[in-house]
């Protein structure tokens, strides 16, 4: 085990800014990409749904 305590772990031997600055931004942006993809899918489905009901109204 490398760390005596959690605060030791978070301190990263004095390199906390660099280590956590790397990992935080990487995982933050990857999570954001997935959220954006879910939102993109949702908006396409809504749009297609509107197109479909508009077409159905046109037929009546």
């Amino acid at each position: 085990m490398n760390w005596a305590s959690w605060s030791d772990f978070f301190a990263m031997g004095g390199y906390a800014l660099y280590v956590w600055g790397s990992y935080g931004v990487v995982f933050g942006l990857l999570a954001m990409e997935i959220v954006l993809l879910i939102l993109r899918r949702r908006s396409i489905l809504q749009q297609l749904d509107r197109m479909r009901s508009a077409a159905r109204r046109g037929l009546q």
């Binding site: 490398n2 990263m12 800014l17 931004v25 990487v26 993809l37 879910i38 479909r52």
Partner: protein, 262 residues
């Protein structure tokens, strides 16, 4: 543009429909397959990332020269590798699209570009945060860093070019030419540390010799590479499904799919 059987949606599916090799090159058949696969790749990415981070932070020992700062390696190297892998795969699909005129190939290339650009940015970002404590500078205009920055601009150029062309098939072709031309940059990035004097260290891992790092460090890094592979596959499958729906919105199968969702 004149209409040939190959560049209409129906003609395309007829053109590729009979050969099993090309079966999944039809967006209509690939769409549900991608939907089934994506969650599995996402779960694999999460599990591998958990294992990789555990190895990287709790098993791998402190580096004798760099102290704990070296732990950036477990995300920096995998992100940098992915930035190059994804570019090559993107160019491969773009080239397939040019050669076989299959619609899905161009969609795959477009789906990969944002994820590739993201990893290129993350490689530069984590590299910068690693450079400051070890080299004393956030950035230096040396061959490795500059060629990786050019990779970011290639991704941006590809996406901007595709976004600027209204007809998706023409956008695919123009993007493919750019993507294939840019492949020359990949060996330049890879060999830059050998060809030029650079601050960036040489490869710690090569096919010819044993890695010049502790086994646990090396294993942790490889597990993180696998995690990012799985992530990239999941993200690009999710994105290609969006692109398929956007581009095929007027087709019969999308209409039927929309009714099936209700």
């Amino acid at each position: 543009m004149y209409v040939t059987p190959e560049n209409t949606a129906a003609g395309q599916d007829r053109f590729v429909g009979h050969s099993s090799w090309f079966r999944y090159s039809s967006p209509q058949t690939f769409y549900p397959l991608a939907g089934k696969l994506a969650p599995w790749f996402a779960v694999a990415a999460l599990l591998l990332a958990a294992a990789g981070l555990y190895l990287g932070f709790f098993v791998a020992p402190t580096d004798s020269q760099q102290g704990e700062a070296y732990r950036i390696i477990f995300i920096h190297v995998p992100a940098a590798w992915m930035s190059m892998f994804i570019y090559v795969i993107m160019a491969f699909w773009a080239g397939m699209g040019l050669t076989f005129n299959t619609r899905l190939s161009g969609m795959m290339a477009s789906a990969l570009a944002p994820t590739g650009a993201l990893f290129t940015f993350l490689a530069l970002w984590s590299g910068s945060l690693w450079g400051k404590p070890t080299w004393g500078t956030w950035w230096v205009w040396d061959a490795r860093l500059t060629s990786e920055l050019i990779l970011l601009f290639l991704y941006f150029g590809f996406m901007a070019l595709q976004a600027a062309i209204d007809d998706p098939r023409r956008a695919d072709k123009a993007g493919a030419v750019l993507a294939l031309t840019g492949v020359i940059n990949i060996p330049i990035i890879y060999f830059s540390v050998q060809w030029w004097n650079t601050l960036h260290q040489g490869a710690s891992v090569s096919l010819k010799s044993a890695p010049t790092m502790a086994t646990t460090m090396f294993t942790g890094m490889l597990v993180m590479v696998l995690a990012l592979w799985m992530y990239s596959i999941a993200a690009s499958l999710m994105r290609v499904r969006c692109i398929i729906l956007e581009r095929e919105r007027d087709s019969q199968w999308v209409a039927e799919y929309m009714s099936s969702l209700k």
